[in-house]
């Protein structure tokens, strides 16, 4: 029996409450559809799962797994909002913060940023680790779109959006290890020399402040922004873009 008293053959238990799922769905897909919140960054309902940020980790019958890539199965016991799992998520978020250069007070994305909102949600109060302070020059070449690589969390949403939705392949991933970085597909390597348009999905999908429209700075005042008003855990507010 579900919480609504309806019988369903396909449910798993998420933190003690039943969640129904459709065949083939992942744990995160089903939870998201049911309006439940499992923190996530690289997962987006419009795209294939990626599994890189690891923030959506849960315990599936006692074993840690990424909920975005793990298929839902009947009778699974999923632990998500536990102290242990949230501590792991907080550490992963701290890693993302120290890896790049994230200065929220001066970032146009502040208040609309999924990284920032998720960090608040899991109670991250400081970086914990020493910052890497990488040297990542911005690309301001495009007339309408700014690229600030300092904030990139390598979620590849822009890569996927440009490839699968816009069919333009404007972005790729380069390098390896801690030197992994976003690449722009043009002879010069600069955004101005690509065919990206401000209306492209890739231009709006970034969950952090890497891909930003120009000349729209602070049009919504701090305090009135997406996550200033409503928590990232609320249904409909779980994605920044």
């Amino acid at each position: 029996m579900t919480a609504h008293g309806r019988y369903s053959g396909s449910t798993f238990s998420l933190d003690g409450e039943d969640v129904e799922f459709h065949p083939g769905e992942t744990i995160l897909q089903a939870a998201h559809r049911a309006g439940r919140y499992i923190p996530h960054l690289c997962w987006h309902p419009e795209f294939h799962p990626h599994g890189s940020c690891r923030v959506c980790l849960v315990k599936v019958d006692g074993r840690v797994a990424a909920s975005c890539t793990t298929r839902a199965a009947v009778g699974q016991t999923i632990e998500s909002a536990t102290e242990e799992i949230n501590a792991t998520r907080k550490t992963l978020l701290q890693m993302l913060f120290v890896e790049g250069n994230h200065f929220c007070p001066s970032c146009e994305k502040s208040g609309n940023c999924l990284l920032q909102a998720t960090a608040y949600e899991v109670g991250m109060e400081g970086p914990h680790f020493e910052e890497f302070y990488p040297d990542r020059p911005v690309d301001a070449s495009h007339p309408d779109i700014l690229l600030d690589f300092n904030r990139c969390i390598l979620c590849e949403l822009c890569v996927r959006a440009s490839r699968d939705v816009d069919h333009k392949n404007v972005f790729s991933i380069g390098g390896n290890g801690i030197g992994t970085h976003l690449l722009v597909n043009s002879p010069s390597g600069r955004l101005a020399d690509t065919n990206i348009a401000p209306t492209d999905r890739a231009a709006s999908v970034c969950p952090v402040g890497v891909i930003l429209p120009k000349r729209r700075g602070f049009s919504t005042p701090i305090g009135d922004r997406r996550y200033d008003v409503k928590s990232v855990a609320e249904p409909g507010n779980q994605e920044a873009s």
Binding site: G177, I178, G179, S186
Partner: protein, 606 residues
């Protein structure tokens, strides 16, 4: 992959050369890694305009080609000189003095490690273990030639040869000798069956019956994970697809492991025979050998074996006259990426992409190379399969222990009198191996490489077996004069260097571990740093996308648990120490103000 706007530069002679190169690979974008490797062999490095020409020929986005070129450690997007000299940086090379030898060569050549000399002649850098631990210190020159048993005299002469511009092929021949060092042979390293005999035995038995024999043998994969070979073949055989593939994982990247190098050099027939038996069972027409870039020098010999076997009707169409039994093998050479030893990353690399492990399931047996059912097995596993096909599963299952059948080859290196290959039945005591190789006063053995287990002296009664101490083949010995903290630090650097960069915990975690270990090494650590290392280990063990990250802290955890004094002797205080040296941070200000008097230093600085 969709087509991108044409970025083709004006055609030149070099572009025509690239067009011919791409044509020789059938204009197949899946061959991108091979195209780039061959292009670099011709040019020495990969200039951006050449990448653009490759992208245009193969109809790939330039950034994709650039992303692939930037992934592999042996591809260079900047010039690296006419001589690229890479020192194997495994702990066993270091124990034989490689760091001092590299410094000596750099001093003689007047360069800093990792930078090219201004005249474009040479660059020198460390690289991950090249699999010559039993005859190190070793270098890899121009990704093609290996020089073993380096010493001060060879370094001095090498510097002269470089300065005089002598081609590597004209360097002293004894330098390139690679010994097999087979110290103890059993089934796999002893006399091998006549080529074709195992295939004939399999054909006489039939496909299903051969599979049954492999299952009966309880043979488990020799690459580390230990998955049952018969089950893997059966899953692949049953999976639907337009084609089935057999892949040999010869990406022997685990530091301290070199058994596959010897098998590839000495018993290539047994490997190819095992692949052919696998192809017979699963119904594959095409096989691929993924040869690690460090073993490029074995390529010609392997190709000769394949060619000879084609002539013997053991590869190609209608093998041994059996109409419909067609199978042939290509060799794909890697380009420096440990993670490609993971089977799904290996398949990505075979498909010409960055070697990032895939989301699993689906597993390669169902959705592997080009999305088709693929069985990926280790070099040693294929050799074992050859013997199983010939002698039957019951015979193999009688060797070893009930849960770990057969024999296992160990790559023994480090502090012992007779390093080399030792093959024993499973269930052999670690102490027995130490006795046989002449190890004395042994403090610890790293079994299975950095991702394996660090075994201390009180555990030498334990046995090599999946149910006790499993191994992928490395057996690195450390006597009591060795500093186990430095061993762990070397492994930490290895994992950070080899992280593919895909998932957060491995990409950032391995880098954070190195920072902490370096801080401890500099004598600036506190107990808090050790606690953070524990925390990182726990996180990475549970949270990473693949096994590389999950095992990256194994040596750390083992050494902290078993050799804690090695860490504690480095702690500056038992409390907190900052991650940076406050006084050193003021050096820029001192330089700008031209001061260096005592008052320009922090009082508490050291």
């Amino acid at each position: 992959m969709t087509k991108t706007p044409s970025m083709r530069p004006a055609a030149s002679g070099q572009d025509l050369e690239i067009a011919a190169l791409c044509a020789s690979h059938g204009m197949d974008p899946h061959d991108l890694v091979q195209v780039l490797r061959e292009l670099q062999e011709a040019r020495g490095w990969l200039p951006r305009d050449a990448l653009a020409a490759v992208a245009a020929e193969l109809k790939l986005p330039l950034s994709h080609v650039e992303g692939v070129a930037g992934f592999y450690r042996f591809f260079h997007q900047q010039p690296v000189g006419s001589y690229r000299i890479l020192f194997s940086d495994n702990i066993t090379d270091r124990m034989l003095g490689s760091a001092a030898l590299m410094d000596d060569l750099c001093r003689r050549l007047r360069i800093a490690p990792g930078t090219m000399r201004d005249d474009g002649r040479v660059s020198v850098a460390p690289t991950s273990c090249t699999g010559l631990c039993d005859q190190g210190p070793a270098v890899l020159v121009n990704h093609h030639h290996v020089v073993t048993r380096l010493d001060a005299a060879r370094i001095e002469q090498m510097a002269h040869l470089v300065d005089d511009g002598v081609p590597v092929t004209q360097w002293p021949a004894p330098w390139f000798v690679v010994e097999d060092h087979v110290q103890r042979a059993d089934v796999l390293l002893g006399p091998q069956p006549a080529p074709g005999s195992a295939i004939a035995a399999a054909r006489a038995r039939g496909r299903q019956a051969t599979l049954d024999e492999v299952k009966r043998s309880n043979l488990r994969g020799r690459g580390g994970a230990g998955f049952a070979t018969g089950v893997k073949w059966e899953l692949c055989r049953k999976a639907r697809g337009s084609a089935h593939y057999v892949v040999c994982n010869a990406d022997e990247g685990e530091p301290g492991t070199f058994k596959d190098r010897v098998l590839l050099a000495r018993h290539a027939d047994a490997i190819v025979e095992g692949m052919t038996v696998a192809a017979y069972v699963v119904g594959a027409k095409r096989g691929l050998v993924y040869l690690r870039g460090e073993y490029r020098y074995l390529l010609d010999g392997l190709r000769a074996v394949l060619q000879r076997r084609r002539g013997q009707n053991l590869l190609g169409a209608a093998i041994q006259g059996d109409e419909g039994f067609d199978f042939d093998i290509d060799i794909h050479v890697g380009a420096g990426a440990y993670v490609c030893g993971e089977e799904s990353a290996l398949i990505e690399s075979l498909e010409g992409k960055r070697g990032t492990p895939r989301i699993r399931p689906p597993f390669p047996v169902e959705h592997g190379y080009l999305g088709q059912p693929t069985t990926v097995n280790n070099v040693e596993t294929f050799c074992a399969a050859t013997h199983v096909a010939l002698h039957g599963g019951a015979w193999w299952a009688r060797i070893g222990t009930p849960k770990s059948s057969g024999t296992k080859i160990h790559s023994v290196s480090g502090d012992c009198e007779r390093p080399g290959l030792y093959e024993y039945p499973y269930g052999t005591r670690i102490g027995r191996i130490l006795e046989d190789c002449g190890a004395r006063d042994t403090q610890a053995v790293q079994v299975g490489g950095p991702s394996g287990l660090c075994v201390s002296a009180f555990e030498f009664g334990r046995r090599i077996a999946f149910e006790d101490v499993p191994t992928a083949g490395a057996f690195m010995i450390f006597n009591r004069s060795r500093d186990m903290f430095e061993v762990a630090r070397n492994f930490a650097r290895f994992f950070a260097h080899e992280s593919c960069g895909f998932c957060t915990p491995c990409r950032v975690g391995t880098a954070l571990v190195v920072k902490r270990m370096d801080k401890l090494a500099e004598g600036r650590g506190s107990r808090h740093d050790v606690e953070v290392l524990f925390e990182l280990d726990k996180l990475m063990h549970a949270a990473t996308h693949c096994g590389l990250g999950a095992s990256a802290c194994n040596p750390l955890r083992d050494t902290i648990a078993k050799f804690r004094p090695a860490y504690e002797s480095r702690l500056k205080s038992l409390h907190f120490e900052p991650g940076f040296d406050l006084d050193a941070e003021l050096s820029v200000a001192r330089r700008m103000t031209g001061r260096d008097d005592p008052a320009a230093h922090l009082e508490a600085s050291r």
